[in-house]
C-alpha cells in the first residue's frame, strides 16, 4: 500500500467536511475519487498534503505517518499534487513554471546558488533539460515561452500536471485534471496519464467528468464527506447509492 488513510475526519467549526474516511491506494493504481460538489474531495487532498490538519484519523504514506505534516515536507516524501484552480505560477512562462518547480531535485545549497558555482550551473542546466523533457511529454513545448496566466484553460491544467511531475512524485494527486477541457485535450490527457502509469506512477484523482472513469482501476465515491461506495468502475456505476447521490446532478453517467 502506497497511501493509506484511517478514520480521516475534518470539521470546520460546525461543518464536517470529511468524515471517517478509510481508503488505500496501491502502487501503480489509478484511483478515482468522485462525488457530487461539496462531497469533501478537495478537502481530502488538502488533508493528505498537509494544508489542513485532520480533526481525527491519520494518513500513512509508504508506511510512515505523515498526518498533519507541512505541505512542503509532504512533497519531499514524494507526493505531488495539482490544484483545482490556478495550479501554476501565472506570471512565469510555461518553461519557468516547471523550472521553478524543480526545487527539490537536484537541490542546490545557499552559497552554491549565490556564488554561481559550476556545480550550481550544472544543476540548473540539468533542470532545464528535464523541464524541457516534461514539456515535450505533455505537448507544451510549443508554448514554453508564453506567460502561464495567458494560456487557454486546458493548457493551464496540463501545465499543472507538468509542474507536479518535477517533484519526482511516487504518488500524484490530481484535482479535476480534465475539467473544462475540450474533447481533444481530454483524449490527450488520458493518454498522458496512462503513459505515466506505465512508467510506474500512482495516481489518485478527483473528477466530475465521468469520461475518466474508464481510466481508473478503482473508484471511491464520497458524499457529504463519507465514503459511500468503492470498487471497479462498472460496479460503482450501477451502485444504487451512487446514482442517488448524483440524482439531479448533470454529471450523472
Amino acid at each position: 500500500m502506497l497511501l493509506e488513510t484511517n478514520g480521516l475526519t475534518k470539521s470546520f467549526g460546525g461543518l464536517t467536511a470529511v468524515s471517517n474516511l478509510d481508503m488505500h491506494i496501491n502502487q501503480g493504481e489509478i484511483v478515482g475519487l468522485i462525488g457530487p460538489n461539496g462531497a469533501g474531495k478537495t478537502t481530502t487532498f488538502n488533508l493528505i498534503t498537509g494544508i489542513h490538519r485532520p480533526t481525527e484519523g491519520n494518513v500513512l504514506f509508504e508506511g510512515s505517518n505523515i498526518t498533519g505534516k507541512k505541505p512542503h515536507l509532504v512533497a519531499r516524501r514524494g507526493i505531488g499534487r495539482t490544484f483545482q484552480l490556478a495550479s501554476l505560477f501565472p506570471d512565469f512562462t510555461v518553461l519557468v513554471n516547471v523550472v521553478a518547480s524543480f526545487y527539490l531535485y537536484p537541490k542546490s545549497g545557499f552559497w552554491e546558488t549565490l556564488l554561481n558555482t559550476s556545480s550550481y550551473r550544472k544543476k540548473e542546466e540539468y533542470i532545464l533539460g528535464r523541464a524541457t523533457e516534461i514539456l515535450q511529454l505533455l505537448g507544451l513545448n510549443d508554448v514554453k515561452d508564453e506567460l502561464a496566466g495567458n494560456l487557454p484553460h486546458g493548457y493551464q491544467k496540463i501545465l499543472g500536471v507538468a509542474r507536479a511531475l518535477a517533484v519526482k512524485p511516487k504518488l500524484l494527486l490530481l484535482d479535476e485534471p480534465i475539467a473544462g477541457m475540450t474533447h481533444k485535450e481530454i483524449e490527450f490527457s488520458l493518454g498522458a496519464f496512462e503513459k505515466m502509469r506505465s512508467q510506474g506512477m500512482t495516481i489518485l484523482l478527483v473528477e466530475h467528468n465521468m469520461e475518466i472513469m474508464g481510466l481508473c482501476d478503482r473508484i471511491i465515491v464520497l458524499n457529504f464527506g463519507r465514503k459511500i461506495a468503492e470498487g471497479l468502475p462498472k460496479e460503482v456505476r450501477q451502485n444504487k447509492d451512487v446514482i442517488q447521490a448524483y440524482f439531479g446532478s448533470s454529471d450523472a453517467a
Partner: protein, 333 residues
C-alpha cells in the same frame, strides 16, 4: 531600435553611469550636493532591499526601523566599546538581520496584506525600544558616534574620513554598488525565483517542496541585513542619530520610493529613490509642504502609473520595440 534583445545597450549605459558617478566629485564641488548624493545612495540600498523583501510577496511598512537597528547598534557599540566602525557596521547589519528573523518568524505566519499590518506594529515596537533604552541611545538622540576610522597603509594610502565628505562619498558609492550587485544576484538566481514563485502562489510553491514560510523569513532577513548596513553607514557618516529618522513616516516613504519607482524591476527603487530624495532637497524652502507634495506624487503615480516610473520605460519600449519578458530569471532587469 532601443533595447536590443540580450542588449549591449544596457551594460553600456550602466557603465557610463558608474563612471560618471566615480568622477562626480571632480565636477561637483559644493559639499552640500555631495551630501545629497551620499544620502541618496544609502537610501537606494535601503529601498532596494525593501524590494527584495517585496519579491516574496511581503510589503514591509517597518523597513526604516531596521535601518535604525543597524545604525544604533553600530553607533552604540563603537562609541561605548571603542571598536572601529569598520567592524561594527557589519555587526549592525547582522543585528538587524537577527532581529528581523526573531520577530519575522511569528510575523511571516500571516501573509500579504496582513503581513504589512503586523510589520507596522514591529516597526513601531523597534523604535519604541530604541527610545526606551535611553541609557545607551541618548534621551534626545545618539551623539558622538565615531566616524569611519582612517585607512592607513603606509606608503600607499592614507584616507581620513573625519570632517571630509569626499572619502565618505566614495565609500558609500562602493558600498552601494556592492550591495546592489549582491541583491541583483540573489534576485536572479534560484533563490529569487523561489521568492517570486511564493509571491504568486504559496500553495503551489509548497506543493513542490518549497518551505514557503522559511523562504519568506529569508527574504526578510536578507532585506533587513542590507537596511542595517545602510543604517550603520549612515550613523558613522552623520555622527548623530535620532529615532525620528526611523519611525513610521520614514517607513511609509520608503515604500513609496519603491512603488513610485516601480516594484517590478530592479532599477525601480533606484530611480524612485533618486528622484524622490532629490525633490525635497530642491524644495528646501517649502519644508512644511514637503509631505504634501510627496503625498500628491504618490497619488499621481497610483492613479496614472501603476508600474511606477521604471515601468514607464517598458511602456515606451513597447511602443517602439520589443518588450522582453522580464519575469524570466537570468535576463537583465
Amino acid at each position: 531600435m532601443k533595447g536590443m534583445r540580450g542588449g549591449l545597450t544596457k551594460p553600456i549605459c550602466y557603465t557610463v553611469l558608474i563612471i560618471l558617478l566615480i568622477l562626480l566629485p571632480l565636477f561637483i564641488t559644493k559639499l552640500y550636493y555631495i551630501h545629497i548624493f551620499i544620502k541618496t545612495l544609502l537610501y537606494i540600498i535601503v529601498v532596494s532591499s525593501l524590494r527584495t523583501i517585496a519579491l516574496s510577496g511581503q510589503v514591509s511598512v517597518a523597513h526604516a526601523a531596521f535601518m535604525g537597528i543597524g545604525g544604533y547598534f553600530s553607533g552604540v557599540i563603537s562609541k561605548e566599546l571603542g571598536l572601529t566602525p569598520w567592524l561594527t557596521m557589519p555587526m549592525g547589519g547582522l543585528a538587524a538581520m537577527i532581529i528581523a528573523v526573531l520577530i519575522g518568524y511569528p510575523f511571516t505566519r500571516v501573509r500579504a496584506i496582513y503581513f504589512s499590518m503586523v510589520s507596522l506594529l514591529g516597526g513601531i515596537a523597534i523604535v519604541n525600544m530604541i527610545r526606551v533604552l535611553q541609557k545607551w541611545t541618548g534621551s534626545a538622540g545618539l551623539a558622538g558616534i565615531p566616524p569611519l576610522s582612517p585607512i592607513n597603509i603606509p606608503g600607499l594610502i592614507n584616507i581620513t574620513f573625519l570632517g571630509q565628505k569626499v572619502p565618505y562619498y566614495y565609500f558609500t558609492l562602493l558600498l552601494t554598488l556592492g550591495s546592489l550587485l549582491v541583491l541583483y544576484r540573489i534576485e536572479h538566481c534560484r533563490i529569487g525565483m523561489t521568492w517570486k514563485a511564493i509571491a504568486q502562489s504559496y500553495l503551489v510553491a509548497s506543493s513542490v517542496g518549497i518551505n514557503e514560510a522559511g523562504f519568506r523569513v529569508l527574504a526578510l532577513a536578507t532585506g533587513c541585513f542590507f537596511a542595517g548596513i545602510a543604517g550603520a553607514s549612515y550613523a558613522h557618516y552623520n555622527l548623530v542619530l535620532t529615532p525620528d529618522t526611523f519611525s513610521f513616516l520614514p517607513s511609509i516613504f520608503l515604500v513609496m520610493y519603491m512603488l513610485v519607482g516601480g516594484s517590478d524591476r530592479f532599477s525601480g527603487p533606484i530611480i524612485g529613490t533618486a528622484i524622490l530624495v532629490m525633490v525635497p532637497e530642491l524644495l528646501r524652502g517649502l519644508k512644511e509642504f514637503t509631505p504634501l507634495i510627496m503625498g500628491a506624487i504618490m497619488l499621481i503615480v497610483v492613479f496614472l502609473m501603476p508600474q511606477g516610473i521604471a515601468g514607464m520605460f517598458d511602456q515606451i519600449r513597447a511602443k517602439y520595440g520589443e518588450v522582453r519578458n522580464r519575469k524570466v530569471p537570468g535576463n537583465a532587469a
